[in-house]
Symmetry: C2
Subunit: 127 residues, 2 copies
């Protein structure tokens, strides 16, 4: 596993939160799971711009931080389900706050990004 060289910031609340949900696809994946999209392959379909490898990687970290739990089922086809833990559910209001702010100001932000000549395009999408 990659080990940081620069010590990380965990005594400032925002940094703690970022540590847990700060990955590019993590809030998106949490959204999916909260909405009953539980299997990796289904999450993959819901988030069309992330590969299965990337989703798995993020799921592994969310699992490590106990945001989600994992249940493996017998049978065919191979079946795994991720669920939000009680702890994970406490994140929903934070994500919701971010989501609301972003939705409310998306146009303005996009406009500025455009002017700055940034590469705006396809994006993570809600389930």
């Amino acid at each position: 596993m990659y080990v940081n060289k620069i010590p990380q910031a965990l005594d400032y609340g925002v940094s703690v939160t970022m540590k847990v949900i700060g990955g590019k696809w993590k809030p998106c994946i949490i959204d999916c799971i909260a909405n009953g999209i539980n299997r990796p392959a289904d999450i993959r379909k819901a988030i069309k711009h992330a590969s299965l490898r990337v989703i798995n990687h993020q799921l592994t970290e969310l699992l490590a931080y106990e945001v989600v739990s994992k249940q493996t089922y017998q049978g065919y086809p191979l079946r795994v389900e991720y669920k939000l833990t009680t702890f994970g559910k406490t994140l929903l209001s934070v994500i919701e706050a971010m989501q609301k702010w972003g939705d409310a100001h998306a146009e303005k932000v996009a406009e500025i990004a455009m002017k700055r000549n940034e590469n705006i395009g396809a994006a993570p999408s809600r389930p």
Copy 2:
């Protein structure tokens, strides 16, 4: 300016929010300014682990996204003040939500990070 190669995600609220406050020091800088620490050199002192160069860089982006405004004063020593714009103030509740969640769960997250052998240490600090 660096131009992204991979198109960015601005049609998902969380991504929009991350675009604006997603930098390592941005929430911290916004906190500072909200608390009356307005000059680059003072922000520098408040956030001991970021260099002036880094703070300036982040301030430039916050300025571009109209989160802060900039006022230059005549006289000596050279004096510049950044203030939150009305728009910038709308971010405070989001940052506060992240801050609260992080504060509430800092111990658990730190513990997991430790177990994962991550490099935990000095951090951005609140003003």
